[in-house]
Amino acid sequence: MSLIGELLGKSPFGPLLEHTRKVHECVKLIKPLAKAAVDEQFDELHRLQDVVSKLEHEADQVKHEIREQLPRKYFLPVAREELDGFLRCQDGIADSVEDFAVVLILRNTKFHPELKADFLEFADQILQVGDTLMAAAEEIQNLAETSFGGAEAESVLQRVAGLGQEEWKADRMQRKLCQKIYSLEEELDPVTINFYEKMLMALSEVANSAENTGDLLREMIIRG
C-alpha cells in the first residue's frame, strides 16, 4: 500500500489539449466548406462533411475519456464545474461546425452571385473568432505548468478578452447579410432563403460557442 503511489492521478490537461486540437481542426474546415458552398462544388462538400463528422466524433470520445478519468476523489487546480463547462462548450463548437456542414450537404443550394463575397467575408470572421479562441485554449498545458498564474495566464486572459468584440462584429455582419438576403427575396425561392438562414445560424453558433468557451477558460484561470 503505497501512499505516494496513490497520491497523484492522471492530468486531464493533456487530453484537454487533444480535445482542443480536434475542435480546432473542425474550425479550420469552415473556410474550405464556405468556399466549396459558394463555388457550388457539391462533391467536395460531401467529402468535407465526412471529415468534419469524423473529427467531431473523435472529439466526443476524448471528451468522454476526460470525464471518466476524473473521479471526485481528486482535487484539481481549477474548479471541476468550470472544467466541465469549458469542455462541454468547446465540444459545442465542433457540433456547430458539423451542423453547418450538414446543412450544406442536405441540399445542393445555389448561391446568388451578389451574396457570394459577403458570405465568404462572414465565414472569415467566424473563422477569426474560432482561431482566436483555439489559440488561447491550446495554451492549457503551459497554463497548468505555470499554475494558472503569472505572465502566461495574463497573456491568455488578454487574448480571450478580445473575443467579445470579434463575436459582436460577426453578429453585425450576420445581420447585414440577412438584410441583403431579404432585399433580394424576389429573386430567390423560399427554400433557398431558408437554407441560407440555416447556414448563417450554424456559423453564428460557432462564434457564440467560441465566445462562451473563452469565458469559461477565463473562469478556470481566475477562479482556482
Binding site: S2, I4, L8, N142, T146, S147
Partner: protein
C-alpha cells in the same frame, strides 16, 4: 552468552532496517525517480549512500529518544522488590520484545495491504513495554505527547512549506514572461537551501560523537559554516545552470518552460538525496533504538544509558537499510516512480525540500516522525498552490487509518511478547546483566 543476546537483538534490528530500506526509502527518492530526472539504478545507489550517511551522522538523536526518551529507565529500576540485575534484564527483554513486535506488525500490515509507519510502530511498542513492566508512570508522557503531536504537525508543516516553496518557484521563475533568465538567477538558491539545511543538521550540536575536537563547531559557528557550504553550492550550481541555459532566453514559452524543468532535474535529485538523508537520520532509530538500549545494559550492567549511542549500532542500522534498498527497494522504487510522473522537477524540488527540512528539524528535536506522511503533506500543499493536476484526497484518510491502527496493534503485540519473555527468559538475562556489572 551476552554476545548471543546482543547478536539476536541485532538480528531483529537488522531485519527492521531491511524492511525500512525495502519499503520506505523508495518514497524518499520518489520525486527524483517519478519526474524522470534519474534512473532507478542511480537512485538506489544515491539513496543508499545518503540513507547511510543520515543514519550515522544524525541518527543518534532519535535513537536516543527510542532507547531512553519514551520509557524512563529509572522507572524500571525503581520497581520495588527487584533482585540484582533484574531491572536491567526487564529493560533488555522489554526492548527486545518491542523490536520484535514492531517488526512483526510491520510484516503483518504490509501483507494485509495496510499503510504502516515504522516510527509509529516502534514508539507504540516501546511505550507498551513500559506500561506492562512498570505501569503508566514509567512512560515519559510529556515526551509521548510531543511525539504524537509531531505526527500530526509534520505533514501539516510539510504542507505549509511545500505550498510556500512552490509558490515562490512559481512566482519567481515559472510565472515570468521569460522563465529562462529568471531560472538562471534564482534556481541556484535551491542548491543553497539543500546544502545549508543538510549541513546545519549535521553540524548543529552534531559532530561531537564522531569527530573528537569538533566541539567548537556548534551553535552560531554551525550556522555560519552551514551558510558557507550553502554559498559554495550556490555558486557552483549557478555556473552549471548558466551554461545549460545559455542562449535560450528568446525561445517560445513552452520551450523555455521545458528548459527550466530540465534545469530543475539535477536539483530535484539533490533535494531527494536530502530527503533520503533525513529519512535515514530519523528512521534508523526504529531499527536500532531498542538495540542501543540492550547493548548498553548488557555491556555495562547498568540501566542509566548516559553514553552516546555507539557508532557501530548506527552503522549496523544504516547497513541494514542499504541492503533492504538494494535487494527489494529497487522494485518498489520503480513502481512508485511510474505512478507519480505528474510530479515534474519543479514540483519535486518543492516537495523534497519541504519534506527534508521538516524531517530534519524533527530529527534534531529528537522526534520520530514518518517521512512518507510528511512528503504526502508537502505534495498536497503543492496541489493547493495549483501546481498539480490531480491530487487524491483519499490519501489523508489512509494516513488517519494508519495512526489509528498501528500504535494499539504494536503496543498489544509488545505486551504479549514482553510477558512471554519475562516468564521464559528473566532469570537467564538477569544473570548476564549481573555478570556484566561485575566485569564492568
Amino acid at each position: 552468552m551476552s554476545l548471543l543476546m546482543i547478536g539476536m537483538t541485532a538480528l531483529v534490528g537488522l531485519y527492521m532496517a531491511w524492511n525500512i530500506g525495502a519499503n520506505d526509502v523508495a518514497n524518499s527518492m520518489a520525486a527524483a525517480v517519478g519526474s524522470n530526472s534519474i534512473s532507478v539504478k542511480r537512485a538506489v545507489i544515491l539513496a543508499g549512500i545518503c540513507e547511510f550517511a543520515g543514519a550515522v551522522l544524525v541518527g543518534a538523536c532519535v535513537t536516543d529518544t527510542v532507547r531512553k526518551g519514551i520509557v524512563d529507565p529509572s522507572a524500571i529500576s525503581s520497581i520495588p522488590g527487584l533482585a540484582e540485575g533484574e531491572a536491567g534484564a526487564l529493560l533488555a527483554i522489554g526492548m527486545g520484545s518491542a523490536l520484535l513486535a514492531a517488526a512483526m506488525w510491520l510484516n503483518l500490515a504490509t501483507w494485509m495491504g495496510m499503510p504502516v509507519s515504522t516510527s509509529h510502530a516502534v514508539v507504540g511498542a516501546v511505550a507498551g513495554f513500559g506500561i506492562a513492566a512498570a505501569g503508566w508512570s514509567s512512560v515519559h508522557w510529556g515526551k509521548m505527547a510531543q511525539i504524537i503531536a509531531s505526527w500530526f504537525i509534520s505533514p501539516v508543516a510539510g504542507g505549509i512549506l511545500g505550498f510556500t516553496l512552490f509558490t515562490l518557484i512559481s512566482k519567481a521563475i515559472l510565472g515570468r514572461e521569460r522563465p529562462v533568465p529568471a531560472a538562471a538567477r534564482y534556481a541556484p538558491l535551491v542548491a543553497f537551501t539543500v546544502a545549508a539545511v543538510v549541513s546545519l543538521s549535521i553540524l548543529y550540536k552534531g559532530l561531537k560523537h564522531i569527530l573528537a575536537g569538533a566541539e567548537w563547531l556548534t551553535g552560531e559557528r554551525a550556522f555560519l559554516a552551514a551558510t558557507g557550504i550553502g554559498l559554495v553550492a550556490m555558486l557552483v550550481s549557478k555556473k552549471l545552470i548558466a551554461r545549460r541555459l545559455a542562449g535560450k532566453e528568446r525561445l517560445p514559452l513552452d520551450e523555455q518552460l521545458e528548459s527550466v524543468e530540465g534545469v530543475f532535474a539535477p536539483l530535484v535529485v539533490i533535494s531527494s538525496c536530502a530527503v533520503a538523508f533525513a529519512h535515514g537520520a530519523n528512521d534508523v532509530a526504529n531499527a536500532v533504538g531498542p538495540l542501543a538500549a540492550v547493548v548498553d545494559i548488557i555491556g555495562s550492567g547498568a540501566v542509566k544509558m548516559e553514553v552516546h549511542v555507539p557508532f557501530w549500532v548506527l552503522a549496523l542500522g544504516g547497513t541494514g537499510i542499504v541492503i533492504g534498498l538494494a535487494t527489494y527497494g529497487y522494485k518498489v522504487m520503480h513502481t512508485v516512480g511510474t505512478k507519480i510522473t505528474q510530479l515534474t522537477p519543479s514540483r519535486g524540488v518543492a516537495a523534497s525540500i519541504a519534506a527534508a527540512s521538516t524531517v530534519l528539524v524533527c530529527t534534531k528535536l529528537k522526534l520520530p516522525v514518518s517521512t512518507t506522511h510528511t512528503l504526502v503533506g508537502a505534495v498536497v500543499g503543492i496541489g493547493l498552490a495549483r501546481g498539480l493536476a490531480a491530487v487524491n484526497r483519499g490519501v489523508t484518510r489512509e494516513i488517519f487509518k494508519s495512526w489509528v491502527f498501528t500504535v494499539p496493534a504494536a503496543t498489544i503485540l509488545t505486551v504479549i511478547f514482553f510477558l512471554l519473555g519475562k516468564w521464559l527468559l528473566l532469570e537467564t538475562v538477569r544473570c548476564v546483566v549481573v555478570a556484566a556489572a561485575a566485569g564492568a
